[in-house]
Symmetry: C2
Subunit: 236 residues, 2 copies
């Protein structure tokens, strides 16, 4: 029976795709990909391009991310209906999403609309923070340690709690409020415990090993993550 | 110049290895693998076996996990010296570790001993909790949500704080104290928010969708993870 595959592409490099994801990408009949914003190729599509077969039907669709909820759900519903019809007509259908599909991916909305009606399979991908940690060889946690993953949009209070309670904190979407993060890290005496990584696994990758070297006013890449590791010295 | 590669194998299925890891596994000259405990093949070695070349030199070594710290470091130091010599003699050397090398892997100790002396490269792997989330199609986080990853050995107070503050909590090494987790989840009215997953991506995989269906006295697999997601209903 035909199935729907939600496929995590990893954060940016074609080689970070899993063997399973590459195999599925190579044998689905139809692949839904995000429509590039300003012409050109979408990042997710670029990542998977080495694995696609010549006969693949690619359906570029606009997947809204920052609309109001109602408008977003309406757009997703339309795409979900199209996917359902494709699968019900006997085609294996793929959908690609950056990083890990279960971590901050709008794919969750689509999955919610499809589950129950057609058979869905989700394939894990390397998340950006996991790749960052390996890239800079900074172990996130060992033994009894614990870590938190929190977006800057969660607000100052929650971020401060996470920084206080956890051994390691991964701050996602960091670029959206660098001044707030600088203030909090300074207050908690953690400026030097923070590694700032932009565009991991891309050509424009940039790594800064202390928050002191970041200008709070500088505009940073959308793909910026900060890892705060309190006991960094033990791994140096 | 010859390099050392620390390679994350993913949690249990050969197909969860990344393209990059498979490529490195296929071209290193020497691969260090954990010695199986009771004869037979180690899980990490079994996972990577499809990607190894015939001429590969495999060095099975005993990597202690639960010894006292001093004894552990001594054993790791010996292996580190051997690896250094291999690399300095011009061989590309690989080392495999289950899941993601930067998340609860004793590989961190080895890395600490090697960094600076030889060139090291760490390749990210799919972590068990990421694969579990995709497998059961339970999005870990969306939008402003945040999640925590905490081992049961962190203690009752820290686990309770995590469960109170975060939208989603991944409880690692859960089998070591199921009675404690049952008590805490009951107290916080989260028994039905907990999904219990053992041996993900293995033949013995087992999934239970509520903590109510777990007998606290039952001996569970070492590879048991519990994901507590407070707002699960929105994805049903």
């Amino acid at each position: 029976m035909a199935k729907f595959y939600g496929i995590g592409t990893g954060p940016g490099d074609s080689k970070l795709v899993t063997m399973e994801a590459a195999e599925r990408l190579g044998d689905v009949a139809i692949l839904y990909t995000p429509q590039p914003k300003k012409g050109g190729e979408s990042l997710a599509k670029k990542i998977v391009s080495p694995y696609l077969k010549d006969t693949l039907i690619i359906k570029e669709r606009h997947f809204p991310m920052s609309y109001n909820k109602e408008e977003k759900m309406l757009a997703w519903k339309e795409i979900a209906e199209e996917i359902k019809a494709d699968v019900q007509n006997g085609h294996d259908v793929g959908f690609i999403t950056l990083g890990d599909p279960m971590v901050y991916s709008t794919y969750s909305y689509l999955l919610e609309l499809l589950k129950g009606d057609i058979e869905t399979v989700t394939l894990a991908g390397i998340s950006s923070f996991s790749n960052i940690a390996s890239k800079i060889e900074l172990p996130l946690v060992m033994d009894e340690e614990s870590f938190a993953v929190i977006p800057v949009t969660a607000g100052a209070e929650k971020i401060e709690q996470a920084l206080t309670l956890f051994d390691t904190v991964v701050l996602m979407k960091a670029a959206s409020n660098i001044p707030l993060l600088t203030t909090l890290l300074k207050k908690l005496n953690l400026l030097d415990a923070a590694v700032v990584v932009s565009d991991v696994a891309m050509a424009t990758e940039k790594i800064t090993y202390s928050m002191r070297d970041i200008n709070p006013e500088e505009k940073m890449s959308y793909f910026t993550t900060i890892i705060v590791k309190k006991r960094r010295e033990q791994y140096k």
